[in-house]
Every structure is written in structure tokens, then in C-alpha cells.
């Protein structure tokens, strides 16, 4: 199934005390159902392997953005991406005006260890999670283990990106909006802290439902009766496709405000193109045989070797929901439920992961701003990487 990691790749990980996590406001990640979330081992990567991962992120970003621009020009491709016509105006405006305003995403790769080729599984283009784990827990665990972190400072790189983008209008505040899940709120809080440290000024973390959106006037929150605070920048911890498909008024209101320049939204709306897994099918078509890409198609028969196994994924899915793994063209060996079962599916050749002697599959990730940065890792001993995966701290070998 994969190359088994030799034991020198995995060392025992210290356990962090819940009290330490509570001090960071992050005991959610160590308690309750998350007690086993952090793995009991640390993965050791060579510097060369980490560098290659980050380079892969940069390459993938260029490649997917080029594909996105190309696909935007063709109705048939837009249909495959799942972009409805009424979203086009905003996306085209965004490409025209916000192409360099990308804030944050995260690449997930198979391979990358012990010479196994890196293969792009997917890009979490719009709401990249694992920030508390990577920015707070991982450095502390590695330090406590007496190991060295990989070179490069992902937090400093993220901070630089926030500084470059700037806080926007000075007569309004900024908000990171989420939809209530504690993991989302914790990730939002990491973004808020970066924003404030980058000199953005007051940046609130607020549940989206508590924000008032007026397409003529802007984005507000009522802090007292008849007293409102206006936000000139919205950092969303919900993806554009959520607004587009599940809250159409939200999408339309944001579109009006963004195009009238009454509100800056990050990530910019063109990110929607990279959220669609169908873009990977276009990328494969445009770059057949590219070493970073897995063959991907809109139907399994268009894959070069469908009988070798493929993964069926919803076009705008998340966290492994509604993903299925099919071998031999017909044997469904794994399937997950979820909210995305009605979506158009995309088919990706089964990737070969690095595994260990307990059949854990290791998925390496790197973050993406205008440049790729940082390394983190999750593992799971099942076919489909989902929320049950463990977070594996990474240190330099």
C-alpha cells in the first residue's frame, strides 16, 4: 500500500498538560472527544523534504491559478467547476481587482517522505484550519521533546502576509466571522491575533449570525441598542461556496458590497475557483503527467487507470464528507456520509501515502499565502482522511 516509515522517522511525543492548553484558551483540543487528537508520536522530516513540500505548494499555487484563469473563460469548464452564471460577475471582478490579495489556504499532499513522490490531494483554498495545532501546539510539543522545529517560521510568514495586505480602511474595524464550531472559532482567533499583531487595528471574532449586512451601507454589528460598529474588512471562516449555495442572500449582499468597495472580503472571491475540486480535473487536463498532480476527471472512465482505484469526492466537499474509495472500478471499499452527497462528483486516482507499521497514512500539509510556508501533518489508519485523523507534530530529523 505504501512505503513503511522506518522507526527513525517516528519518536515518542510528550503529552501536553490540559492546564497549559487552557492558558492558551485551547483546551478544546486536548479534552473530551479530542483527548486522542494529538498523536503519541512526532514525525521527523529532513530539511530537504520540508523544502520540497513548501516548493510543491508554490508550484501548485501557480499551476492552479493559471488553470483557474483559463477555466473561467469557458462556459463548459465553468459548468464543470460548478460556478453558476450569477456568480460570474463577482468572480471576474475579483480576478480583475483582487488577484494579488490572497490571504491563506492549505495544501494537503500524499507522499513526500523517504523519496515517495509528493502528490497533491487537494487544496483547502478558503478556510484553512489546523492553525492552533500548527502555530501553538506543534512548536510547544517539539520544544518539550527536545527536538528542533523545521527551519522557517510559519507564524512570521503569516504575519508578513497580514502586514502586506494591511488592515484596510482606518475608519472602520475588521472582523473574522465564523459559524460557531469551536474549531472554527479557535482558528478564527488565530487569524485575529495575527491581524492585530500585524497592525490591522481592532479585529473582532464574531459569529456570522451576529453580523448585520446591508448591501447599500456595509457590514455592521449592533453593540448596544442603536449603536453599531462597522467593519470594513471581513475575514471569513466560511467558504465562498457556502455563501453561494447555502445562503444566496449572503453571497449577493457580499458581492454588491465588494464590487462597490464598501467591504473587503478575504479570501477574495476568485478563491471560489480553487475551492472546486473540479479544478484539479482541469489542471490535469492542462498539465497531463505533471509530477505533483494525481489524474483527476469528471467521470472515472476518463482516468488513465480507473481500475487501479480512485476516490470519488464532492465538488465542494470538506473534511472527507461523502468521499468514497472504489477499487477495481466497482468495489466500494470505503464511504463516508455527510452534507454534500447531492453534489456533482469528481474522480481522483488513488494516491499512495507513506504509511507506518500500523497502517497509518501520513498526509503532509503546507500553508499558502502569496508563498507557501510551514509544515504540518495528520495521519489516519483508514482510507479516508477525515476529522478522526490525528495531528502529528513535525520536527527536523
Amino acid at each position: 500500500m505504501g512505503s513503511t516509515l522506518p522507526n527513525v522517522r517516528l519518536v515518542e511525543s510528550p503529552r501536553l498538560k490540559p492546564r497549559w492548553a487552557r492558558k492558551q484558551g485551547l483546551d478544546y483540543y486536548l479534552t473530551g472527544e479530542n483527548e486522542e487528537y494529538f498523536s503519541d508520536e512526532i514525525l521527523l522530516l529532513d530539511k530537504r523534504e520540508a523544502d520540497e513540500l513548501v516548493r510543491a505548494g508554490d508550484t501548485a499555487f501557480q499551476l492552479l491559478r493559471a488553470t483557474a484563469k483559463r477555466s473561467l473563460n469557458f462556459a463548459a469548464r465553468r459548468a464543470e467547476l460548478g460556478i453558476p452564471d450569477h456568480a460570474l460577475k463577482l468572480i471576474e471582478w475579483s480576478v480583475e481587482n483582487e488577484w494579488d490579495h490572497y490571504l491563506l489556504g492549505r495544501w494537503d499532499f500524499a507522499g513526500g517522505i523517504d523519496g515517495r513522490s509528493l502528490k497533491l490531494i487537494e487544496f483547502n483554498a478558503d478556510t484553512a484550519s489546523l492553525l492552533p495545532e500548527t502555530l501553538v501546539f506543534q512548536p510547544e510539543i517539539v520544544r518539550k521533546a527536545g527536538l528542533s522545529p523545521l527551519a522557517g517560521d510559519v507564524r512570521a510568514d503569516l504575519l508578513r502576509r497580514f502586514q502586506t495586505l494591511g488592515g484596510g480602511r482606518t475608519d472602520t474595524a475588521r472582523v473574522v466571522a465564523h459559524l460557531g464550531h469551536p474549531d472554527d472559532e479557535a482558528n478564527s482567533e488565530q487569524l485575529r491575533a495575527l491581524a492585530e499583531e500585524a497592525g490591522w487595528g481592532r479585529t473582532d471574532v464574531i459569529h456570522l449570525a451576529d453580523l448585520a449586512l446591508n448591501p447599500d451601507e456595509g457590514l455592521f454589528r449592533e453593540v448596544e441598542i442603536d449603536r453599531w460598529i462597522q467593519y470594513g474588512t471581513l475575514v471569513k471562516f466560511f467558504p465562498w461556496d457556502y455563501a453561494l449555495f447555502e445562503e444566496p442572500d449572503l453571497f449577493d449582499y457580499l458581492a454588491e458590497l465588494v464590487m462597490d468597495r464598501g467591504l473587503r472580503v478575504l479570501n477574495p472571491a476568485w478563491t471560489l475557483l480553487l475551492q472546486s475540486k473540479a479544478l484539479l480535473a482541469h489542471a490535469w487536463k492542462d498539465n497531463p503527467g505533471h509530477p505533483l498532480l494525481l489524474p483527476t476527471a469528471m467521470v472515472p472512465e476518463d482516468l488513465p487507470a480507473p481500475l487501479a482505484g480512485y476516490v470519488r469526492k464532492p465538488r465542494f466537499g470538506r473534511t472527507g464528507d461523502n468521499v468514497a474509495v472504489i477499487l477495481n472500478g466497482r468495489d466500494l471499499v470505503a464511504e463516508k456520509g455527510g452534507h454534500y452527497g447531492d453534489q456533482t462528483m469528481v474522480y481522483q486516482q488513488l494516491a499512495t501515502y507513506n504509511t507506518d507499521d500500523e497502517d497509518y497514512r501520513y498526509q503532509l500539509s503546507t500553508y499558502q499565502t502569496d508563498r507557501a510556508t510551514g509544515v504540518c501533518c495528520r495521519r489516519l489508519n483508514e482510507w479516508i482522511m477525515d476529522d478522526e485523523a490525528e495531528f502529528v507534530p513535525v520536527a527536523v530529523r
Binding site: A125, D126, N187, H207, A209, A212, I229, E247
Partner: protein, 189 residues
């Protein structure tokens, strides 16, 4: 009455301090807190009568087409009736008020305490009507009814929406729930 909704930036709010706006307990810095107010788009002609020396009562308030058309008509005990335009009324709050007579300034103080206040300060909130300013219950009740009409119509013109995402996970503001489940969906990727 059709009303527009607009916003006062923080710096204008502080200039309008005038005791009209309560200082909130929310600690946002100056310049960043905005107040959503409703701006009248019709005007008022207020008539005041001096019922005794330096004591004026509002005897009539009639809507007119625009705020700029607002007037204060004064009937002093002695002397001819007079009419002050909106431009003149706005000067009463400035150092230029000295160019006006005592009678005019006195009439302004009483007359502006009714519906004319909203036109003068271009907002529908932050001011209550005082029964004592009115000559009788009928005039006062008419003023209250007019003010209520203004507020009601203002609400129907706004396109503000809140509550986006409140159906995305049941207990949307719950702090419980695991990474892998719970009542609220995660949108992280």
C-alpha cells in the same frame, strides 16, 4: 414618509456630542464606532405661539416635502409674526445666533424641541417629544403619531439582514461539540 438609512462616522458623532448621544460602555476607540441613524426625507413646519413673556408653545406641526422646506413660524405676544427658514434655524446653534433677536432665539428654543428637532439634526433617534412643549393634547398626539409614522416607514426601507448561518448547525453559538461531530458543522478545511 420615506427614510434613508445612513451612518455617521465617529468624528461627526463626537462633533454632535451635544448631550444627544449616550456614551456606550463598549470600549471601541473613537473613529471606529458608527451609529446607524434614520434620516428624515420630509420636512416640518412648526408654528409656535408666545403664550406669556418668553414662554412659547407649539400649536401646529405640518409635514412638508423636504427637510430644506422646514420652517419655524413664530407668533410673539408683541410684534409681527415671523418665519425662520431651515438655514436660519441651523445658525441658532452656532456663534452666529447673536444676529437674531431675543424673541427669535426664544421661539427657536421651544419650537425646536418638537418634530423640528429631527430635521435640524438630520436624524430620527435620540430625542423624545415633551408634552409640555405643546399647546394642547391634540397637537401633542398629532406629533406623536407623525413621529411613529416616520419610524415605521424607516424600518421597511432597510435591506439589512442578520442571522446568516444561524441554521448551519442548530446550536450555532454552542461552545460544545467535537472536531468530528457535535451539533454545529465545522467549515474548516
Amino acid at each position: 414618509m420615506f427614510l434613508k438609512t445612513y451612518l455617521l462616522p465617529g468624528i461627526v458623532l463626537s462633533a454632535l456630542a451635544l448631550g444627544l448621544l449616550s456614551c456606550g460602555s463598549d470600549p471601541e476607540p473613537a473613529g471606529e464606532t458608527l451609529e446607524v441613524v434614520q434620516e428624515p426625507t420630509e420636512g416640518i413646519v412648526t408654528t409656535v405661539e408666545e403664550v406669556s413673556p418668553d414662554d412659547w408653545k407649539i400649536t401646529d406641526e405640518t409635514k412638508v416635502a423636504t427637510p430644506a422646506d422646514s420652517r419655524l413660524i413664530l407668533h410673539p405676544i408683541d410684534g409681527p409674526s415671523d418665519t425662520l427658514t431651515m438655514a436660519q434655524l441651523k445658525m441658532m446653534e452656532t456663534a452666529d445666533s447673536t444676529r437674531y433677536s431675543d424673541s427669535q432665539r426664544s421661539a427657536y428654543r421651544y419650537g425646536s424641541s418638537g418634530l423640528l428637532w429631527f430635521m435640524l439634526f438630520n436624524r430620527m433617534g435620540g430625542h423624545g417629544l415633551n408634552r409640555n412643549a405643546y399647546a394642547n393634547n391634540q397637537v401633542y398626539n398629532n406629533a406623536t403619531a407623525t413621529r411613529n409614522n416616520l419610524n415605521n416607514s424607516a424600518r421597511t426601507t432597510t435591506r439589512t439582514r442578520t442571522g446568516f448561518g444561524s441554521k448551519s448547525g442548530g446550536a450555532a453559538r454552542s461552545t460544545s461539540g467535537s472536531r468530528s461531530g457535535g451539533s454545529t458543522r465545522s467549515f474548516g478545511g
